[in-house]
């Protein structure tokens, strides 16, 4: 039976978009958490971490409430783009984002915090704005760990199943990502397809993890 490669391309596309968004959002959150002192900082950190421990069904439920067609956000989206967000590949991006953000924020925060404070202080005494300090000093000094964190986030968004299933569904050729396609293949008794996809996913994940390990400074 010929294998439908659509889920692979979809998953890659979803992972790429979600990782890009996670990078911007996650680095910002991580930098704030690592450098600013404010009330509720640890609550924010806990909230960002929460998806790591909650079951995917709970997260999926939240997302449905948050971006479903009846929600204000969902309505706004529909008003702007003319079609609902849920049960499209874009919803899969949101799912993957939620799935991969916690670890990215956690490890980027650690990466930022591992940069010797004196470099940042030195840059400040030299008149560097916080913006320039971030781009020219903190980020370059933490870049290896950040790369590793981003690679991990990519691998994670490639593999999301539960949340994706709940908010994007399982529409072959439209929202069926790799993980969902494997589930589908097993359910339908397509052993050969399932096997191939499983091996593929494992290989890609292994590759990315190895890369992440090599990047991470010891």
């Amino acid at each position: 039976m010929p294998i439908d490669w659509f889920p692979l391309w979809l998953s890659l596309r979803v992972a790429l978009v979600s990782t890009s968004v996670a990078l911007a959002l996650g680095l910002w959150l991580a930098y704030i958490l690592a450098n600013r002192e404010f009330r509720g900082k640890e609550v924010l950190d806990a909230m960002v971490t929460l998806p790591l421990v909650l079951p995917p069904t709970v997260l999926g439920y939240y997302l449905l409430v948050l971006i479903g067609r009846a929600s204000p956000l969902g309505k706004l989206w529909e008003m702007i783009f003319g079609s609902p967000l849920v049960f499209t590949w874009k919803a899969a991006v949101v799912a993957a984002l939620l799935h991969s953000l916690p670890l990215l924020v956690k490890s980027s925060r650690a990466a930022f915090e591992s940069v010797d404070r004196r470099y940042e202080r030195a840059a400040r005494t030299l008149g560097a704005s916080e913006w320039r300090l971030f781009w020219r000093v903190t980020l370059p000094l933490a870049h290896r760990s950040i790369f590793a964190a981003v690679a991990l986030a990519f691998a994670q968004s490639l593999g999301d199943f539960g949340i994706t299933l709940m908010v994007a569904g399982n529409i072959p050729g439209r929202t069926q990502t790799l993980a969902v396609a494997i589930y589908d293949a097993v359910e339908a008794g397509n052993g050969a397809v399932a096997r191939t996809l499983v091996i593929l996913v494992s290989a890609v994940a292994l590759l990315i993890l190895t890369l992440a390990n090599r990047l991470n400074p010891r």
Binding site: D116, R118, Y119, R121, A122, L126, S129, R132, L141
Partner: protein, 356 residues
């Protein structure tokens, strides 16, 4: 000129005892050395001036700029303070070459001027050959010069140095003194240097401020402080003093003389203003001011007999430790001449006597 009045309380933490800073400080042209033991609050003073920590109370004024004022809530960020800071271990950006480090600092200047300034600085601080290398690829001396050049390239109104000599070996230290003297003469930037190294105070300090437990206990020129420490604590901090308990027996302001009873020896000294007959005081004499000779007859005026316990080789000469704890420094040649001797005489020149 820097004028600072600071007060800050650091609450007790599991990893550090409670501590408070309360001082008033001035740093004019030249080098002001902030000297104190570890934990005296030296670095906190620098950090308050640079803007890394916010004092509870006080006011910091640099030339005409108000950097901090608790009363009106002024607290400029470090970027706006115009203070160069040379960190312990220099904090050169490890991912940039020396030239890039300077470029980073000069970035707010116009392009052409920036290049000229950087080249000039590389020249002044003898960094031209090393300019293309990263900090970990150059020598300790080059790193040090680069960190000073980087701090100076923004033309700060004040240069702060945090324990710059810490962990340097002797030749590097000498080189550093050299560089800082050059900075003092070429740049005219007032320098505030924090250290617990006495050598640095005397090599570099125009003014010296002694800090102890967050408070200033004495300030003045290093020579003056060494000549007349204000109390026993300061004398101990400065090391190298004989501190001997004694009693004042007579005072004569008219002839500028006094008599001091030290054990069973009576010494002649200068008049001590503000002291009274019968005061129990601490006699304070520097080891190199004592005069050592072989005992030939009876001890003369201001002399006492002593038994040598140990003679220690020092870079500058010999340090003699006598029984009873008195220490005297003599030249090597003089010691060679006296070394066969059994009994010793220690003479306390009247002019050298100080009481605390």
């Amino acid at each position: 000129m820097l004028q600072a009045r600071l007060r800050k309380t650091f609450p007790q933490r599991p990893d550090s005892a409670g501590f408070s800073l309360d001082l008033e400080l001035k740093a004019a042209d030249g080098v002001t050395v902030l000297f104190g033991p570890s934990g005296s609050g030296k670095t906190q003073v620098l950090d308050s001036i640079a803007g890394f920590t916010r004092p509870d109370e006080g006011r910091i004024l640099l030339d005409d700029d108000l950097l901090f004022d608790a009363a009106t809530g002024v607290h400029l960020p470090p970027q706006a303070r115009n203070c160069g800071y040379v960190f312990q271990n220099y904090a050169l950006f490890p991912h940039m070459t020396l030239r890039e480090n300077l470029m980073f600092a000069a970035e707010r200047r116009p392009r052409l001027e920036r290049h000229r300034r950087v080249t000039e600085m590389l020249e002044t601080f003898r960094l031209r050959e090393a300019a293309g290398r990263r900090p970990h690829e150059v020598s300790g001396g080059q790193r040090q010069r680069c960190s000073i050049a980087r701090a100076l390239i923004v033309a700060p109104k004040l240069l702060l140095l945090d324990e710059p000599g810490q962990g340097l070996d002797a030749p590097l230290k000498a080189e550093f003194y050299e560089v800082l003297r050059q900075v003092r003469s070429d740049f005219k930037t007032p320098v505030l240097l924090v250290t617990h190294d006495l050598d640095e105070c005397f090599e570099l300090g125009d003014e010296m401020v002694i800090l102890r437990e967050g408070r200033i206990v004495q300030s003045g020129s290093p020579r003056k402080i060494l000549d007349q420490p204000v109390n026993v604590d300061v004398a101990r901090l400065l090391g190298a003093f004989n501190l001997i308990p004694c009693e004042i027996r007579a005072l004569d302001p008219g002839r500028n003389t006094s008599k001091v009873q030290m054990g069973d020896v009576e010494l002649d000294g200068p008049y001590f203003p503000g002291r009274f007959k019968g005061d129990r005081v601490t006699l304070c004499v520097r080891p190199e001011q004592l005069v050592i000779s072989a005992r030939l007859g009876r001890p003369g005026p201001n002399q006492m007999t002593a038994t040598l316990a140990r003679a220690i080789e020092k870079p500058q000469g010999m340090r003699l430790e006598f029984e009873g704890g008195i220490i005297a420094d003599v030249g090597r040649a003089e010691f060679e001449r006296l070394r066969q001797n059994q009994d010793w005489l220690i003479e306390f020149p009247p002019a050298a006597l100080r009481v605390l």
